[in-house]
C-alpha cells in the first residue's frame, strides 16, 4: 500500500477527463514489464489486472514476496512466453500499488487523498493505461488480455481503440455487471464503511486502518471466487487443529480458518479505499449501455480477433454472460473464438493451474502470433 514502493512509474501530463466529469492530470501510472520489445514493436501484450491484482504479473511480487498473480500464464516458457513476448501490466488508477489512487499523497497537504479521490470507471482505467502504450511508442499491440475485471478492460480497450490490438482475450468476465455482482460488491463496501476505523475514508489522517472491515469484504468476496464443489472437496466439515467442536466462535472449521487467513493477509497488501473505488468501477461497467443498449456497436469499428474463455464452475461471471459477448461479436461478423473450460475451481480458475486452460490459451496465442506474422511477410 504505497509503502514507498520502488516501482516503475510514468507521470501522465495529458489531462484525462473522467466519466464523473472531473479532470485529472500529472498523475502517476505504475507498471511492470517482462521480456523484450522487438525492433518492429510487434510482440507487445498488454495484460489488465483484476480487482485486487497489480502490475506484478509474474516473477516475485516485491511487496508480498509471493509469486506474481498470473505466474501460471506469464513468464519464460509459460503460455504467454516472455522469451517471445513483451508483456506490460499497469496498476489501474484507483489502485494502491503506485498508480494514482485514494492512497496517493496529496502534495500540498502531505495527506492521502482518501475519499476526495474522484469516482473512476473501467473506461477511465483503460484510457489512463493507453498513455502507457503511447509512452512505449507501440503503434499496435499484438494482444490485450485479462480475466475478470481485466477482461472488462479488454472489452473497453477494443471499444475505445479499435485499431490498437490485433488480438483480444477477455477471460471469465462480463460486458455488464449483474445485480448479483453489484450485490456482492456492496456487501464488501458496507463491511469496510461499517468499520469505525474507516473514518469516512480519511483513516490515514488518524493513523488508522479499517482492517476488520476490509478483511470481511475479502472473505465474502473470496467465497464468490470458488465453487461449491471446490469448497466441499477441499474443506468439507474438516476441523482446524482440533479433534472436536469447542462450542464457541473460534475457527473450529478449516474453512473458517482459511477465510480468516485470506482476510488477514489481504489487509497487509491492499488499501480499503482502493477496494471501494475499484468495486464501484466494476459495478458501473455496462458496455452495452455505453452504446445505447447494443453491445455489438461497441465492436463494429474493429478488426481485432477475439478469443473469449469462460469456466464451467464460475458462477460470478458465468458462461452465459461470456457467451453474450460472443453473440454480440458474431452478430457483426467479427472474428471470434470461444470455449468454456471444464474446471471445478470457480471464478478463480483463470488464476490457477488449470491445464486445459493454460494449454489452449498458450497454443492459441502462439499459433495466432505465427499466422499474423506470416501474413505480414
Amino acid at each position: 500500500m504505497n509503502k514507498n514502493i520502488d516501482t516503475k512509474k510514468i507521470i501522465i501530463s495529458n489531462p484525462l477527463k473522467l466519466d464523473c466529469g472531473k479532470e485529472i492530470n500529472n498523475f502517476p501510472i505504475a507498471y511492470e514489464t517482462y521480456g523484450e520489445l522487438n525492433s518492429e514493436k510487434s510482440n507487445a501484450i498488454l495484460v489488465f489486472h483484476a480487482l485486487t491484482g497489480d502490475q506484478y504479473v509474474s516473477g516475485k511480487n516485491p511487496i508480498t514476496n509471493k509469486d506474481g498473480w498470473w505466474s501460471y500464464v506469464v513468464g519464460e516458457n509459460k503460455p504467454i512466453d516472455t522469451n517471445k513476448f513483451f508483456v506490460i501490466c499497469a496498476n489501474v488508477i484507483g489502485g494502491c500499488m503506485g498508480s494514482y489512487g485514494p492512497s496517493t499523497i496529496n502534495e500540498p497537504t502531505g495527506k492521502q487523498i482518501g475519499t476526495d479521490f474522484p469516482i473512476i470507471t473501467i473506461n477511465d482505467m483503460v484510457n489512463a493505461q493507453y498513455e502507457l502504450i503511447k509512452y512505449f511508442e507501440i503503434e499496435k499491440l499484438f494482444a490485450v488480455v485479462g480475466g475478470s475485471m481485466g477482461g472488462m478492460q479488454v472489452l473497453q480497450f477494443v471499444a475505445n481503440f479499435p485499431d490498437k490490438a490485433k488480438l483480444a482475450i477477455p477471460i471469465a468476465c462480463t460486458s455488464s455487471h449483474s445485480a448479483q455482482n453489484i450485490a456482492f460488491n456492496e456487501l464488501g463496501r458496507q463491511a469496510i464503511m461499517a468499520d469505525s476505523k474507516w473514518e469516512n475514508g480519511f483513516y490515514s489522517n488518524y493513523k488508522l486502518n479499517p482492517d476488520k472491515g476490509l478483511a470481511v469484504a475479502r472473505m465474502a468476496a473470496h467465497i464468490t471466487y470458488l465453487s461449491e464443489k471446490g469448497l466441499q472437496e477441499k474443506f468439507g466439515r474438516k476441523l482446524q487443529d482440533r479433534d472436536s467442536l469447542r462450542y464457541g466462535f473460534e475457527a473450529d472449521f478449516q474453512i473458517e480458518s482459511y477465510l480468516r487467513y485470506q482476510g488477514s493477509v489481504f489487509v497487509d497488501r491492499f488499501d480499503a479505499n482502493s477496494y471501494l473505488y475499484i468495486t464501484r468501477a466494476m459495478d458501473y461497467f455496462d458496455l452495452s449501455k455505453q452504446y445505447k443498449g447494443n453491445l455489438s456497436d461497441a465492436f463494429k469499428e474493429t478488426k481485432t480477433k477475439f478469443f473469449v474463455i469462460s469456466f464451467t464452475s464460475d458462477w460470478l461471471y458465468p458462461t452465459s454472460e461470456n457467451r453474450e459477448i460472443v453473440i454480440a461479436l458474431n452478430s457483426i461478423g467479427a472474428d471470434v473464438g470461444f470455449v468454456e473450460i471444464e474446471s471445478d475451481k470457480g471464478h478463480d480458475s483463470f488464476l490457477l493451474d488449470v491445464p486445459s486452460f493454460l494449454k489452449t490459451l498458450g497454443d492459441y496465442i502462439n499459433s495466432t502470433y505465427k499466422v499474423i506474422n506470416e501474413r505480414r511477410i
Partner: protein, 198 residues
C-alpha cells in the same frame, strides 16, 4: 475423407466467407484455409475438439448448431458446410433451415444409408449395419436420423430447397446425381454431397 474435402473445396469460390458446422478437429477448416479461403470459422459442440482447434489457431466457437446458429446474422456466410453431421442432430429439419438462413449457400454431405453394402448387412445379417463410414454399433451410435441420398434429395424438393449440385462418391469415384440416375446412385454410393440454397 480427402476426396470429400476436395469435392467440398471445388464447390467453394476463393476468398469467400465460410462456416464449418460440426468442425470436429478442424481438418476440413485447415484444408480449406490452405486451398481456398482464410476467412473460415467453425462451430463445434465438443469441448475437447474446440480446444484442439483453438490450439491450432483456428477460429472456433463452442456451441450447438441446434441452438447457437441463431446468433449469426442472416446470410452472414457465403458458404455453410455440414459435413457428415446432419444425421446426428435431434432435429435435422430445423438445422437445415437454420443453415439456409445463415449461409447464402449450404454444403451438406451425408453418409448414404442406401448404399448397397449397408442394405446387404441388414438384409442378410439382420443386424444394424456397421461399415467403414458408419463404424458405430446401434447402442453407441451418435447417429439419430440416418438417411439415404434419395431421402435427402426428396427432402429438398418437398421443402422447395434448390439443389445446385449433387455429387455421389463411391470410394474415390465421383459422379453427378440427377433425377434419372437417383435410384442407382442411391444404391451405389457411400456419400452424397449437396450444394443447396433456400
Amino acid at each position: 475423407m480427402k476426396e470429400e474435402f476436395n469435392i467440398i473445396s471445388n464447390l467453394i469460390e476463393e476468398n469467400t466467407r465460410v462456416l464449418d458446422v460440426g468442425c470436429g478437429y478442424g481438418d476440413l477448416m485447415k484444408f480449406l484455409q490452405e486451398n481456398k479461403t482464410k476467412d473460415i470459422r467453425g462451430l463445434e459442440i465438443s469441448k475437447e475438439k474446440v480446444q484442439n482447434c483453438l490450439s491450432k489457431g483456428l477460429t472456433v466457437i463452442e456451441g450447438n448448431a441446434e441452438s447457437d446458429l441463431k446468433q449469426f446474422p442472416k446470410s452472414s456466410f457465403d458458404y455453410v458446410i455440414l459435413s457428415q453431421t446432419l444425421q446426428a442432430f435431434l432435429n435435422p429439419e430445423l438445422v437445415i433451415s437454420e443453415l439456409l438462413k445463415v449461409g447464402k449457400k449450404v454444403i451438406v454431405t451425408i453418409p448414404n444409408f442406401g448404399y448397397w453394402r449397408v442394405r446387404l448387412q441388414l438384409l442378410f445379417k439382420g443386424t444394424m449395419p456397421v461399415t467403414e463410414n458408419l463404424p458405430h454399433e446401434w447402442y453407441n451410435t451418435p447417429n439419430l436420423h440416418m438417411c439415404t441420398i434419395k431421402d435427402f434429395y426428396n427432402f429438398c424438393s418437398s421443402k422447395n430447397i434448390k439443389i445446385f449440385k449433387s455429387i455421389a462418391l463411391k470410394k474415390s469415384r465421383i459422379s453427378e446425381i440427377n433425377k434419372s440416375n437417383l435410384n442407382y446412385k442411391n444404391l451405389d454410393s457411400h456419400l452424397g454431397i449437396f450444394l443447396i440454397e433456400s
